[in-house]
Amino acid sequence: MILFLCYITTGLLLLIRDCNEFLSFCHKHIFLEVFFAMAGEVPNLAESKLTALVVDDNFVNQSIHHKLLDRLGIKNDVVCNGQEAVDVHCSGRNYDLILMDMDMPIMNGIQATKRLREMGIESKIAGVTTRAEEEEVKEFMEAGLNDFQEKPLTISKLVSILHNLDFYVQA
């Protein structure tokens, strides 16, 4: 009986400890921010100091994606094609997140993603394209993407990308 009570007490203590850890984890994680976003509020991730690179040859999309990231407090740079994305990494820059278009001149998104992975770039890469055929998406994913969203991008789609890619707020 005493052993049984000890067992139950230990179990409860472990559960309380795990709950505390879980709540602490949530506090540091942007999960709650994302949760509020999905409930209609726009999260501000400026404190997380995330950085992003927009890779798109279209000026309209460059402008929109840049603004979307700005709105979420994510500092970001913009390049016009896959080759420029590779070049910027060769120059020593690194980003937490890369929003990669598929169809671009000089070097497309599939080629650029493969090249970046070959270079050892471990940034999270999210493919964003109007192409939504299963085979096209599969080819893009297999190049080394971490996530994929169909254009046009919106605040909620971008928040979904951040949620899927498990970004953390730095303590």
Binding site: V60, K67, T130, T154
Partner: protein, 155 residues
């Protein structure tokens, strides 16, 4: 009696709703409006301006490609159509995007007459949208100049 601001605001509301109901704009335009703030009060106008520059450039490319009678590169035309579909989708230009879908099908089936027809329609449609959005932005300016706030319009 309605003040000038109230009249302008009502006009703005009605005009905005009509653009959505007539299929000129879709939800993506609403998403663009959400991104406009005090730091970038002209964001929508700027993006839309980029879109219309894109239209001119791409339609020019398509026209030149279709002009090569007997030697039309439908892949080249299709590529420009794909780009226009992308940017029209990004700004919520619903009719232009819809025409691009039909246009792409004509390119894929190498239907020359269909492509020429689509090109003419896309040209008319983007110019029509350009005029209508200019009217909308003018209304916004008039409201602000009259001392009013631009109303949020729920579609």
């Amino acid at each position: 009696m309605d003040t000038l601001v109230a009249q302008l605001q009502r006009q703005f509301r009605d005009y905005t709703i009509s653009l959505y109901h007539q299929g000129f704009l879709d939800d993506q335009f609403t998403e663009l409006k959400k991104l406009q703030d005090e730091c970038s009060p002209d964001f929508v106008a700027e993006v839309v301006s980029l879109f219309f520059e894109d239209c001119e450039k791409l339609i020019g490319n398509m026209a030149r490609a279709l002009d090569q009678t007997g030697n039309v590169d439908f892949n080249l035309v299709g590529s420009s159509v794909h780009q226009l579909k992308g940017s029209s989708s990004s700004v919520g230009a619903k009719r232009v995007k819809g025409l691009c879908i039909t246009f792409k099908e004509c390119c894929d089936s190498q239907n020359f007459e269909g492509c020429v027809r689509c090109l003419q329609q896309v040209d008319i449609e983007y110019k029509s949208l350009k005029a209508k959005l200019q009217d909308l932005f003018n209304l916004e300016q008039q409201i602000v100049q009259a001392g009013g706030r631009i109303p949020q319009v729920d579609i």
